[in-house]
Symmetry: C2
Subunit: 219 residues, 2 copies
């Protein structure tokens, strides 16, 4: 936290400062949900009825405010991924939980407030560079899961990066938040389980001929 002696003195104790900051973040989230757009520090000060210098002591610039909102959104995702990675489930169970728990969290958020959820989806798409580190972290953990699965014979012969890309594509409806906004009723943990079963039973480097030798000119 960027907090000098002077700001700390202005703000009371560090605990008070942190809880005030958390309260300001709730205001920022509410603004995003209402307006569907990113929030500046000055707009937040006006909305929350707080002096601008006080907001500026909490967030060094508008990007830091945005990043704090993003961190609030993805914090639970990171916790879920770390818990699943630390568990001693077999690889197929682990991969299912890795996707299913985050899917369930997203679905709860979507169903609790579809309009706010859409606002966050659009904001994340428009500012993807500030979300990327969470996507990269998820890829990092998924690579660990793939390595564990390969150690037990799954995904035979596939480079980890290739398996990563193919798995990400095949489970995309369960990770890409905005898919919920148009096909919530067709997504389920049961289907996700069948997809993970399919991956473990069928995904390998073996060319089984679907693509054919003659490419798109064949039929």
């Amino acid at each position: 936290m960027r907090l000098g002696m002077r700001e700390r003195a202005m703000s009371g104790t560090a605990d008070q400062f942190d809880s005030e900051k958390a309260r300001m973040l709730r205001f920022a989230e509410r603004m995003i949900e209402e307006r569907g757009d990113a929030v500046s520090r000055s707009a937040l000060a006006g909305y929350a009825g707080v002096p601008r210098p006080r907001i500026e002591a909490m967030f060094a610039d508008d990007d830091e405010l945005f990043d704090a909102v993003v961190a609030g959104w993805f914090g639970d995702h990171v916790t879920i991924m770390e818990e699943v990675l630390a568990s001693d489930l077999p690889p197929n169970r682990k991969m299912f939980e890795f996707f299913a728990r985050r899917f369930r969290l997203q679905r709860e958020r979507f169903r609790a407030n579809p309009a706010a959820f859409k606002a966050y989806c659009e904001l994340g798409a428009a500012h993807f560079e500030r979300v990327r580190s969470y996507v990269d972290l998820a890829d990092h953990y998924l690579c660990e899961l793939i390595a564990q699965a390969q150690a037990e014979g799954a995904f035979e012969g596939l480079a980890i990066d290739r398996a990563l890309s193919l798995i990400n594509q095949m489970v995309l409806p369960y990770t890409m938040a905005d898919v919920l906004t148009y096909m919530d009723e067709r997504l389920s943990e049961e289907k996700l389980g069948q997809i993970v079963d399919t991956l473990f039973a069928g995904l390998s480097a073996a060319d089984r001929g679907a693509r054919g030798l003659s490419g798109l000119r064949a039929a």
Copy 2:
């Protein structure tokens, strides 16, 4: 075509009328690409510099104009699906071509004009009820492919509707047009081939345990 004697007389021969209509559709497409929004008959008349009654003789109402634009977009998709269904390729090759040819068409359109492509994606999402019949037709043809594949031992034990839903989810990045707008460089015919291979090797009704008995509370 809704075309009375009087309109036909006004418009010259039916051939002239049809080519004029096709020309007006090009104008409508250009308007959509420029504005990113649906087009009314009166706006089209103004844009094309044509008397409004002339446009009204071609399109009974704004919905009919919109449907004609949608038909122009999906016409090639329908041709592709029918050609693939009529071919005598084995089921895995057929399913690959079924998805790959339409993916390639979408990708060509996207790369030729990304902004116009995005405008069509947004328009299709906003007026999904007018696109639904094409989605339903694709599902209908995919069910035929699934039945052919099951006759040769694939997707064992799965109800056709269930296989349809799971396959649609696992190939979603290659059918949902707007995925191209954010991950074009990660999609390829080669990966699609590996996904179809994975489906044919691994998708069945067998519960292989990814979901576990204890659901999401397990890890």
